[in-house]
């Protein structure tokens, strides 16, 4: 209920998706061993939620909502969903996922800073 209350829960979610997405991106660079099944699944879950395909994950839903405004052009996520499902990411999908990785990183840095200062 405190002013930092939600951030202390939210960091966990951002980190969860950030880690998986980074691992998926590493896999696209030939380091497939670094991305486990869970990393692909969690990244797909977030991207599906971003593409408004009504994901059923509370964590993905709240993270996607906080990224609103940084979501890019409408429809771009549908292509990435297909690419992730096929585990075959073309340069366009990789570029979109890099932008997403930086957005998650930025949001996490902001949350950490707010928690250090003790307010949101």
């Amino acid at each position: 209920m405190s002013s930092i209350g939600f951030d202390s829960c939210f960091f966990d979610r951002l980190d969860h998706f950030s880690r998986s997405l980074n691992h998926v991106l590493l896999a696209t660079k030939g380091k497939a061993a670094l991305a486990g099944e869970a990393d692909w699944r969690q990244t797909l879950e977030l991207v599906k939620t971003l593409s408004a395909q009504q994901g059923r994950s509370l964590a993905a839903s709240s993270v996607a909502a906080c990224l609103k405004g940084r979501r890019g052009v409408p429809g771009q996520w549908d292509v990435v969903v297909q690419a992730l499902e096929a585990r075959n990411l073309d340069p366009g999908a990789i570029k979109t996922l890099y932008a997403l990785a930086w957005s998650l990183d930025e949001e996490r840095a902001a949350v950490l800073a707010r928690m250090r200062q003790g307010h949101a």
């Binding site: 209920m1 002013s3 209350g5 202390s8 960091f11 980074n22 509370l58 709240s62 909502a65 990785a101």
Partner: protein
């Protein structure tokens, strides 16, 4: 540049992480045993990852620099959390933590809390919150000497439920959450169409958009945590909300202007009062509502004309019904609970005494707190 930077910075962070292990109390107190193990596991993992980022040939392709930096930042943030959230809590702990963890155990037994308990620390400098990444609930140092804010612990107990997805123990609660979220989405879809198709000011458009984003991102979860609190401890939870608002609340009808963590205090009270009627506590609800209205009147706060655009009362009421179904579906025991319950009954008795005999309340509270939380004085 990055190669040189990481050679030094990653090495330094590895040193820091190793030194952090030395800060884990030896031996950890029993209530922090699980947290200590989790810290050690995370530190080991972070060190392994930092070594890979610094040394592995896989990371040294110049084309992968952005990813290498992203990973470094992620692991650095992890170490920051271990240091500032978890190890700080253990390193600064005292004998009173055993007392407050024992209290939490009794609270959760009374309500039949469905998942593993968080650990409680008295580290908070900012009211109550829970770090879900470490299952660590933080409350202010002096709070266990007093009773009136303790109902907020039930709110914090609800946050980890949202983390327990794909878990049969929380399924009915999360299903209820989604049903409520759908109702809100439908409402805001209609609102957005309405403001786009009418002559509406940019201020209202931004407010509708911000409110919808806040509902999706945070507010529904906060409302559900409030409802969990009321279902657990009944009127004491709504009284604690009034108390918090009186002490440090902002405008109870604050309009949304940007993404925000918490909904305004007035609609939070609205759902609490509705929840009390679901618990058949109409008399208490009426008494709390009267005091709440008086408080708002003294502060000169009143509901703006278009407030329900952002907090639709009819839908809030449906959220209460959904949440109650989810709560009982998890097997949790709503207020007024069983005869043997002592914690939640004491927290409610405290509020009855507070209003009935304000002058003698402090002495009564001191005596009762020491009996309810043995060891809190040491």
């Amino acid at each position: 540049m990055l190669e040189s930077y990481l050679q030094a910075a990653a090495s330094q962070l590895i040193e820091r992480a190793m030194a952090l292990k030395g800060e884990i109390p030896k031996p950890p107190k029993i209530e922090f045993q699980g947290l200590a193990n989790e810290c050690r596991r995370r530190i080991d993992e972070a060190i392994k990852e930092l070594r890979a980022i610094r040394d592995d040939a896989d990371f040294k392709d110049p084309e992968d620099e952005a990813l290498r930096l992203l990973e470094f930042r992620r692991v650095a943030a992890q170490i920051d959390r271990v240091e500032n959230a978890a190890i700080a809590a253990m390193a600064r702990s005292n004998e009173k933590e055993a007392a407050v963890n024992s209290l939490l155990y009794r609270m959760t037994r009374e309500i039949v809390y469905p998942i593993e308990l968080p650990t409680v620390s008295l580290l908070s400098q900012n009211y109550f919150y829970v770090n879900t990444d470490f299952q660590l609930m933080c409350i202010p140092l002096m709070e266990l000497h007093f009773l009136l804010h303790l109902p907020d612990i039930y709110h914090e107990l609800a946050h980890p439920l949202s983390r327990a997805e794909d878990d049969p123990r929380t399924k009915t609660w999360l299903d209820a959450f989604w049903r409520a979220q759908r109702l809100i989405s439908e409402h805001f879809t209609r609102q957005i169409v309405a403001v786009e198709s009418a002559r509406t000011t940019d201020t209202i458009r931004v407010a509708v958009s911000s409110a919808y984003q806040s509902w999706q991102c945070r507010w529904m979860e906060e409302f559900f945590c409030d409802l969990f609190g009321v279902f657990c401890v009944g009127p004491a939870y709504a009284w604690a909300h009034l108390h918090l608002h009186a002490e440090r609340g902002r405008d109870a009808f604050q309009l949304p202007r940007r993404l925000s963590n918490h909904p305004a205090d007035a609609p939070r009270m609205t759902i609490m009062l509705d929840a009390l009627t679901v618990l058949k506590q109409e008399k208490s609800a009426a008494e709390i509502e009267q005091r709440w209205r008086e408080l708002l009147s003294i502060a000169g706060q009143s509901e703006p004309a278009d407030f329900q655009r952002y907090y639709p009362k009819r839908i809030l009421r449906k959220c209460v019904d959904e949440a109650f179904e989810g709560f009982t579906g998890m097997g949790c025991k709503p207020w007024p609970g069983a005869d043997g319950d002592t914690v939640r009954k004491t927290l409610n008795e405290a509020w009855c005494r507070f209003w009935a005999a304000p002058k003698s309340f402090a002495a009564w509270e001191k005596e009762v707190t020491e009996a309810l939380i043995p060891g809190s004085k040491s």
